[in-house]
Symmetry: D2
Subunit: 337 residues, 4 copies
């Protein structure tokens, strides 16, 4: 019996990438797609690359109607909206992998500060599991609600969490300088992501106030066993997909570069999608995959980590499928290699 999967909000880039993965998944049947676009457009009209691959229309459905036809629902809806939808999906019996930010933060007050609105389902926050299998694989296996991580947080956390957990770096003064492709900004037309605006250009944006900041800090604090604050600076890069995060931290103790590499290798040995490499990785090496490539250097007494991933892969849709695999007791890598 195939797992019946639905996608709510099927018109964006993460949803398209999800569909690419799910079409290859031997245990999944894509059962429902939703969108609020008028006229129930065929999915191939929305995403022409799916012509001949999937014969489904995007319906404008209530969560209960979706849940009735699905075992698992991937939520690709805007934050705020999502918190209203997810309780209804869960109550109606579906499991949920939520790609929005609504269930990532444990503290509804922090949510309010950063997202500027009251959380609509704070009662679910305790049971939502942060969907980073490299840190939370066991809880993911048994939850019915996974909060799929943000793309920037995944890149930052995978580089820093092991070093904090093992006490190799100090928890204060951490800098995360991230470079992201444009697909991370979504598929809504706006001036900043119009081709002639962002092509042939680099810029920083949302400096000091990007909403992924509290998410990074929450997970790193948990890893460190104490408060971690980061300076997080996202930059927009003229490419479709890919995130490279360069992280800077102060060492704690005297570990050499080789020892830090070995620490990372040992930490990620049981995890098939993090590749600790000796060379300096490029985002292109991970494009279209669920891998995160990672290395570490010691420069002038500072620890410098570099991580690369595909913001639509390990940073979104790939991770979502990885989480689904775990939730349903499947091999973690199914459809992802």
């Amino acid at each position: 019996m195939a797992i019946r999967a639905g996608i709510m909000g099927a018109t964006g880039y993460s949803a398209l990438e999800l569909l690419r993965y799910l079409l290859r998944h031997p245990e999944v049947e894509i059962a429902v797609l939703t969108s609020r676009q008028e006229g129930n457009p065929h999915i191939a009209a929305v995403h022409p690359s799916l012509a001949g691959r999937l014969d489904l229309c995007c319906e404008n459905l209530e969560p209960e109607a979706v849940a009735a036809r699905c075992d698992v629902v991937f939520c690709c809806l805007p934050h705020g909206v999502t918190a209203q939808v997810v309780p209804r999906l869960l109550e109606a019996g579906a499991r949920v992998v939520d790609l929005s930010a609504d269930f990532r933060l444990k503290n509804a007050e922090v949510y309010r500060q950063w997202y500027g609105k009251e959380h609509q389902a704070p009662q679910l926050l305790p049971q939502a599991v942060y969907g980073l299998p490299e840190l939370y694989r066991e809880p993911i296996r048994s939850t019915r609600l996974v909060a799929n991580p943000g793309c920037y947080p995944t890149s930052a956390i995978l580089a820093l969490a092991p070093l904090l957990k093992r006490g190799a770096i100090r928890p204060e003064g951490i800098i995360v300088d991230s470079k992201s492709g444009v697909s991370g900004a979504g598929r809504q037309p706006k001036l900043t992501t119009l081709y002639p605006e962002c092509n042939e250009s680099v810029s920083a944006y949302n400096v000091g106030r990007h909403r992924h900041t509290p998410e990074i800090e929450q997970v790193l604090s948990e890893a460190a066993g104490g408060a971690v604050e980061v300076v997080f600076t996202p930059h927009l890069i003229p490419m479709d997909r890919g995130i490279l995060s360069t992280v800077y931290a102060q060492p704690q103790g005297q570990a050499s570069e080789e020892e830090l590499l070995e620490l990372l290798r040992e930490f990620y040995r049981p995890h098939p999608f993090v590749r600790v490499v000796e060379h300096l990785p490029a985002t292109k090496d991970t494009a279209g995959t669920n891998f995160c490539d990672l290395t570490v250097r010691v420069v002038r007494g500072r620890v410098l980590g570099i991580s690369c991933l595909d913001n639509l892969g390990k940073g979104a849709a790939g991770a979502a499928v990885q989480n689904m695999n775990l939730m349903f007791g499947l091999e973690e890598t199914t459809a992802l290699l």
Copy 2:
């Protein structure tokens, strides 16, 4: 006494390129900028690259108010709107270089067919001069209304008009296959020109119904002294600026490749901005300039022309300044080299 210049519709890419040229022009003072954006934004807020270069705000003004402060007005308004504005500018005493399509077609009925609306100022069509100095330099010198050519037409016409004029190619069966950068589609956010949609992709658009078709045909027919029909296929290329047109025609007579090259060289000798080259030109060679690079080949009995230009340069703002120079009796190349 400086020429006082105004730009109506100062927020787009052509207007920005115009400003770059005009800021270098020794005889011009930029006097007025207009836009319908609320709050009279400073031009450097609209175009950050102009910070410190020009201390003007975009005003929401009537044409008469603009004309009162200008000797020449560059109209960068949408077609349709323009035809209503230009008569008022002319009556108020300004000369006009219009970058819209409204005064390019001589026949108001053809305009109606292709633009889907009645022309609002057909009485001005006889006096408007098509702003291609390589064909109409003398009339441009003495007109008060120049219809600045479209970017595609300029590239197609410069490649084909001399060959038609001299009878080297036949007037029927001409194909114009054009490749354009994305800035040609304007600065209004829309899905088709969103970065992740058009990056890493090529596609044709408006096949058989692009509005530059009648403009190309009108000017080529005049050059040929008889009706010319073209198949015109525009393609969107993932780059900011540049148009390359590959044109295919049937020879008339037995001219060799070298003779055709010489025909072009001789035709363009008095024209400083068309460079007839022997190599295969690249759009990059003309980026940021007012040049059109041009060559011709004979392949299997077919004449093949290739022309390159910057759609914002010779395809829009550069040509506009070239036209203004001619209208005001200045050296044609002023501010353009």
Copy 3:
């Protein structure tokens, strides 16, 4: 028992794409990789994206040594070299899918004219099958030597062959205007494909003398049942991968656009990798896939076809796997969806 596959010349882009497909292929074991690079580099040192995916080194081996360990060999060697290697692979018992040009042309004299050297294995030309399953599926099933088509020819032939076969267009005066991403030019560093040279630029190259011309003409002539000549103009586009070919032909008879579309739909119904679409396709819709998206228009009495594919997918590695599937009696789509 898995099919043991080898790749000779494993360091280029086509080989990397082949490896991506083969790693997903349930019936294939990648057995041998060759390269003439010194020191037998690990494949992940050559292609970092394969880190952790494939633990093989590139060996410098004689064809017989390769054949001894393989059931099928994919040849990604330069033309000229290939013609010397393939006879030895066949004699040693391997089947061969050759991605070079050496066995595509049926006539050794035509080869000599276009490639400037004598063919080194003309005796094999009669038995080599042109690897376009949409035209030659049955012969591919039973041959031991497939000449995998060039990327441009595939895009041109798929658009034109059905129209010629059914007599809908005339065999003379055909124009193929093609636009290709840069990966088609290979992985050898050279000035023309250096990033700052070809980025933000379009240019035509090898006009009138590109070596894919006789290949296109040979296959189209076979389809038309008589000599077909084409004017073929390749252009370099600033993107990694993708080919869009715009083809122009004169109609024969009175078929409407809708009838031509239906002709194509009917022709390709048994072929899973050609999608006849009504919209204007973009190369991005086929990126990373083995699909060719195709449409047709009638413009001013001319038939205009547009085809899109991934030059490394349907234009090279995808087609190679499709051919291998047929040669080994597997489902044609295995590993390709």
Copy 4:
């Protein structure tokens, strides 16, 4: 009387940009171009964008022969070679703006450590002036040898030097995270800058050992009046030109963001090519110009500076012309606006 200018090493990207600026310079005559390419190629064969602009061939000349025909020589030669050429140019009477690294470091021993060879003209190091007019305008006016700064150092120093000079940040723990377009890597074909390798990808390179590190530290130490060490991480970005440096430092004292902005504004008031802006600048705003756009933020108690420039403009050729203007007593902005 025009200033006669020569360029040694005229085939690269910096030289092309220099030529673009010099062609617009009212006081300069381009007198000599050199290259070691065989056959004295015409400059338009090397740089097709110069067709019709400059009728000079690249000659293979000794420094004395160059100096005999020039008042100023721009050296665009590789480091190492340059140190041998410059003494001969100076002795023969020319003034020199050197775009290589050979005369930037004051200490020949530091040069030996970072460049791996003995300096060939250490006797000139005391008289060479670091060509950053924002810090060394008066010495530039009176020297005969300017060491034009590296592109990364200019971006880092302009952001940090004023803050160090005024004691607003601490001299230790400074991080410079830089993002550069590909033209900075030069015009020699190599795998790392081949289009399909670096397009659609970001990577860090030369981490902890980029040769611009000691140059940054030397100038910042002079500004701080004490040793400054930086962690400098360059990244390669898929665009032609532009550098954005994000710098992180610890505050010294309690200056607010607004006070730091005012400090920068006040510092750069006399300097026409540094624009202190309130928004987050993009490299595109400075493309093709000699401007550096700069801002500062305070994030979680850390001072964060962001600077943008064109690596071929203010990072190379623009700065070289600015320096030449100062050396010859011309208006600093001539040909640069």
